[in-house]
């Protein structure tokens, strides 16, 4: 029995690990969307973060530089999106799509010489506690610092949006850019900051994949996680805490599917792999039916172009 319990502990630990990139990317995108900007480039920003993190690790042999560099690269690439949508007033959907296509291409180009290089072991915290405490050990301890940060992030995001003045400004800009602008808030600047922050978090999410989760560089290694993260924000009806719950559910399905294959469960692998996508659609249907529920947190001006008459 104790074996079963410790196995479940390990299982939960691995579910947590697989949900980290989703939490990071979705939390970042949530702030961007709350300011009224829909950035469909999450996948592109993640993959750029993944390759730049890995490349920097190989070149500098320093994980700290790699992590910070991946966030910076996310910022740089999201700056393209910010410049186009905020300064040149382009359509959010089309620009975001272009960013994803561009990012996937660019990452493969940059990563050409990094295919097949083995990754480096990322330091984990409290590894002795992990071994010694049954059940809770593998859940609470022995993770990378990025995982702890990811699990704190939704709470920090929630606090930021609900309790701080800056958070209020972000929400005001997303809900009513015109009134916010009349109040003297620089709407474009706030949106720029939110876009760049989203880029940084997506870059970190990518680096988590290439440095910690599966430490190597593979072309297209984000494998649609960016799109799942986008869906998660809607799934969570723009509430940070629900992003965490949603990410754990999606992470859980991914891990469960691996274990069910191992046990020899007679459901086609492809069906299990399709579950997160189908779940997202079902949740979208459920929450969208109730227009009050979706309006509660939805940034009213999401995806709409704002410009100030001069």
């Amino acid at each position: 029995m104790s074996l079963d319990i410790s196995f479940i502990g390990i299982l939960i630990g691995s579910i947590m690990a697989s949900s980290v990139p989703l939490i990071l990317a979705a939390s970042g995108e949530l702030i961007t969307e709350r300011s009224g900007v829909l950035n469909l480039g999450v996948e592109g920003m993640m993959i750029i973060g993944a390759i730049s993190g890995f490349a920097l690790m190989v070149i500098t042999d320093n994980l700290f530089i790699a992590i910070v560099g991946s966030m910076l690269s996310g910022v740089i690439i999201s700056l393209i999106f910010g410049f186009l949508t905020q300064s040149l007033l382009t359509n959010h959907v089309a620009t975001g799509l272009a960013l994803t296509i561009f990012g996937i291409g660019l990452s493969a180009m940059l990563g050409k010489n990094f295919v097949g290089i083995p990754g480096k072991e990322f330091p984990i915290l409290f590894s002795s506690l992990r071994e010694n405490i049954p059940f809770f050990g593998p859940i609470l301890f022995g993770h990378s610092i990025v995982l702890y940060f990811a699990f704190a992030l939704p709470f920090l995001t929630n606090y930021f949006l609900k309790k701080t003045k800056l958070g209020l400004i972000v929400r005001a800009v997303g809900d009513s850019p015109v009134s916010a602008s009349n109040q003297g808030i620089n709407v474009i600047l706030v949106r720029y900051c939110c876009i760049l922050y989203g880029g940084a978090m997506c870059g970190l999410a990518g680096a988590y994949l290439s440095l910690i989760y599966t430490p190597q560089w593979i072309e297209n290694m984000t494998a649609g996680r960016g799109w799942i993260a986008l869906a998660l924000v809607v799934f969570a009806t723009w509430s940070p805490i629900k992003v965490l719950i949603g990410a754990l559910i999606f992470g859980g399905i991914t891990i469960l599917q691996l274990h069910m294959q191992a046990i020899g469960f007679r459901i086609p692998v492809q069906f299990l792999s399709a579950l997160p996508y189908l779940m997202t659609i079902i949740v979208l249907v459920v929450i969208s039916r109730d227009s009050r529920k979706i309006k509660l947190n939805t940034p009213t001006s999401l995806g709409r172009i704002f410009y100030k008459e001069k």
Partner: protein, 348 residues
């Protein structure tokens, strides 16, 4: 208006310049690399046929998407509709794998169009009746369709004599698109694309439905006041778009591929979104845009062979084209602003 159709050319020139800079940074002679990219691929008859071969699905899908985009419906799951169309069409082709007959190919093509249409109806119905976001639903379905295809080609539909390769049987000759020329791969599917162009021009500019689509795209409120049936229109534009993507899928499997396997499309469904924009959602503009974007696919392959640059550079070019196109629209915005300012001055 002239500027509206002129900016795509500016975008293309800027993309070529940007590409040159990237090649220079990567340590290649930019002029030579660009020559391998944009001139070598179409310098012979075979290359030209390959260009048309790749432009065909892009053009078909983009034509369909133009209906959605014009009416403000963001169907970005054409890749899924293409895949599902190929699955349904391929299923019919497999039914007749050991038979010949003139009726088989039309059946396969029809099945493909219906498959794509059904798959596109899912986000459309969910949007009209449950108010869900069509961007996310159509996108999620892309992954679902690819997994269905994967399941079929490794499982129930895999070739019994295929040594467990993830592929189906070869289709019979009667399920294949007739080739236009001996020893070139260009096939009759190009006529489907051209027919779609003519038909879409007719629908968009000469029918009441086209008028409704354009008005809804410009202003949903106006469309409502005019009493247009918004829900029906959403369903119709998605069905048109899905059918076109399904046709593109069936064109690929009955044309150059000849069976079902995992990699039936190098993301034509996503790239066609760029084609639709570059062509300004105009049927004839889309023909031109599909040729330009097809060239980025071909160029990437040539550059991979001659310069050992990963073929993903094609996506870098495609992304850049859309970036520059969207950016150059700012010129249009300015023009509108200047015009409206002048009007105001006149009024004062």
């Amino acid at each position: 208006m002239a500027l509206y159709f002129f900016t795509p050319f500016i975008a293309i020139i800027l993309t070529i310049l940007g590409g040159g800079i990237i090649f220079y940074i990567l340590g290649f002679n930019p002029i030579e690399a660009l020559k391998f990219y944009f001139i070598t691929p179409i310098s012979n008859l075979y290359g030209f046929s390959e260009l048309l071969l790749k432009a065909t699905p892009l053009c078909l899908i983009a034509i369909g998407l133009s209906f959605c985009f014009k009416s403000n419906n963001w169907n970005i799951g054409a890749e899924g509709q293409l895949t599902f169309g190929a699955i349904v069409g391929g299923g019919v082709a497999l039914l007749f794998y050991n038979q010949e007959g003139f009726y088989i190919l039309p059946l396969v093509i029809l099945a493909g169009a219906i498959g794509g249409m059904i798959f596109a109806l899912i986000p459309a119905i969910l949007k009209t009746y449950f108010n869900t976001n069509e961007i996310l639903v159509s996108l999620m379905l892309v992954y679902v369709s690819k997994l269905i295809l994967d399941y079929l080609v490794v499982g129930p539909w895999s070739n019994p004599e295929g040594f467990n390769f993830p592929e189906t049987r070869q289709f019979s000759d009667s399920s294949r698109m007739p080739l236009l020329f001996e020893s070139l791969r260009i096939h009759a599917g190009i006529f489907l694309a051209l027919a779609a162009v003519m038909l879409s021009w007719f629908i968009l500019y000469k029918t009441y439905l086209g008028f409704q689509i354009k008005v809804s795209g410009l202003s949903l409120k106006t469309a409502k006041y005019a009493g247009f049936k918004g829900k029906t229109m959403i369903l119709v534009v998605f069905m048109i778009s899905g059918a076109c993507a399904g046709l593109a899928g069936v064109g690929e499997i009955t044309g150059p591929i000849g069976q079902l396997h995992r990699m039936i499309s190098p993301d034509y469904g996503f790239t066609a979104i760029i084609v639709a924009f570059l062509g300004r959602l105009n049927p004839f503009g889309i023909i031109f845009a599909s040729l330009v974007v097809a060239l980025t696919y071909l160029g990437a392959e040539t550059a991979q062979i001659f310069l050992q640059i990963p073929k993903y550079t094609g996506q870098v070019f495609q992304g850049m084209i859309l970036f520059f196109l969207l950016a150059s629209d700012y010129l249009l915005f300015f023009k509108v602003k200047i015009l409206s300012l002048k009007k105001n001055e006149l009024r004062h």
